[in-house]
Symmetry: C2
Subunit: 296 residues, 2 copies
Amino acid sequence: MSNNNLKVALIQHSNSGNLEENFEKSIAGIKEAAQQGAKLVVLQELHRSLYFCQTEETDLFDLAETIPGPSTTALGELAKQLNIVIVASLFEKRATGLYHNTAVVIESNGTLAGKYRKMHIPDDPGFYEKFYFTPGDLGFEPIQTSVGKLGVLVCWDQWFPEGARLMAMAGAELLIYPTAIGWDPRDDKEEQVRQRDAWMIAQRAHAVSNGVPVISVNRVGHESDPSNQSDGILFWGNSFVAGPQGELLAHGSEENEQVLVVDIDQNRSESVRRIWPYFRDRRIDHYQDLCKIYRD
Amino acid sequence: MSNNNLKVALIQHSNSGNLEENFEKSIAGIKEAAQQGAKLVVLQELHRSLYFCQTEETDLFDLAETIPGPSTTALGELAKQLNIVIVASLFEKRATGLYHNTAVVIESNGTLAGKYRKMHIPDDPGFYEKFYFTPGDLGFEPIQTSVGKLGVLVCWDQWFPEGARLMAMAGAELLIYPTAIGWDPRDDKEEQVRQRDAWMIAQRAHAVSNGVPVISVNRVGHESDPSNQSDGILFWGNSFVAGPQGELLAHGSEENEQVLVVDIDQNRSESVRRIWPYFRDRRIDHYQDLCKIYRD
């Protein structure tokens, strides 16, 4: 089999309260990526704003926008101009009082190829997402694009092997996780290392179990807690691309803004799944209980 | 929460064509483990024999035994004598022409606590297991013992997040994988590293996704291919224990026989699942297709 390289780019940056400045960073990254020959660019989760879920504030729903809306229009023009596919992550206002954490895929001709609404929603101190986001109702459906069928998932989804599996079973050729994850600065170094390593291991394992590359894009920098109840979140970067055996193809910085450009051999999954044919051997006759909350 | 340590031991050794010699190695390891205070000992996959699945030979069915049978009797006496729980891995003869790859759990009073018949069966050059082993029919059921509820799985199962999840959902407090995995010596070093790393990542991710410790025990040493069609298998050792965030608590050698003894804090899962409550957020309303072979 010949190589069939897809050049992808991951845009990792810090954010501030200035929405325009944040968007300019994303756009500058996309332009740099295109200049380096990338055909697919992935942005981090909720890249237009601070990670606003550190507190529960009704005013913050003002950050949401419709899809299609201002961001998809701007990104659509950029995608068309640069002939590039873009995966972006938006705070979607679907109706009055109904919001989602939604990833959009913009085709290289500027059209909206599809969207994914985050299915698994976290809620823990500093990450009050259940207040803001209704769990997605679109299921785990990959989105067809000119660069392949993209299994787009978002952040907390990355801890659930079920989402990755369902995307791969529907033909996803890449798994993509825009993310906003970081440390509680009050945790000790050992706990921080365990958390970061667990985050990488869990996602690299999705690559292994499904024989498919994984792209994960996280933000960097410290963001304060507006309520001053905590020391805020130190986003840990470490954006990465793993090949279909979980091997690291690219690995970003823990602290710095970065445009990470890397080639993915899209034929590699074909060889890997021939030597590790997990799809052949799944015991679907004994998997029914996966649709239960617990087996008690 | 106070610490609640369980001392576990992993017996990693090489095997020869001499069955008695192999069993003596396992027994010596168990005795050493008990002497070091272990309360749970895990043996590698098919520890009584060479990894005989490199070829398909009807004579090799002679290696199989009933359960209960000679091995469970011998291990039962040992377990009682040492007051230790043992997880062993046997080639089970269930009936004429019906065989399984079966793990047994021996209680510290010498009785058989339960058995698990390997559910996912591999078959690729050098690992012709579908010839020897009927896929298990007992499902993914943890086994209650005096040291906790054990989620015993076997080798190829380790690549399937479904098995780990179902065990954890049924209350398994530890996931345990007796294993026989190694390299094709003809593969280049880079491929070998990818395979070994993928093997560790996939299993450590089961710990992460389910907030449960994982014990994996592999054999070491080179075993020739009786058919001379290949260069045999170089078993890669690397037996390990991971905590419920996937962190390595113990990590064995790649080449040497070893009795790896380590403390597992059984209360750690309680804290980890409070900060990472994945069981809370599973989208069981969208998981039905996990019971399909493929979503097409």
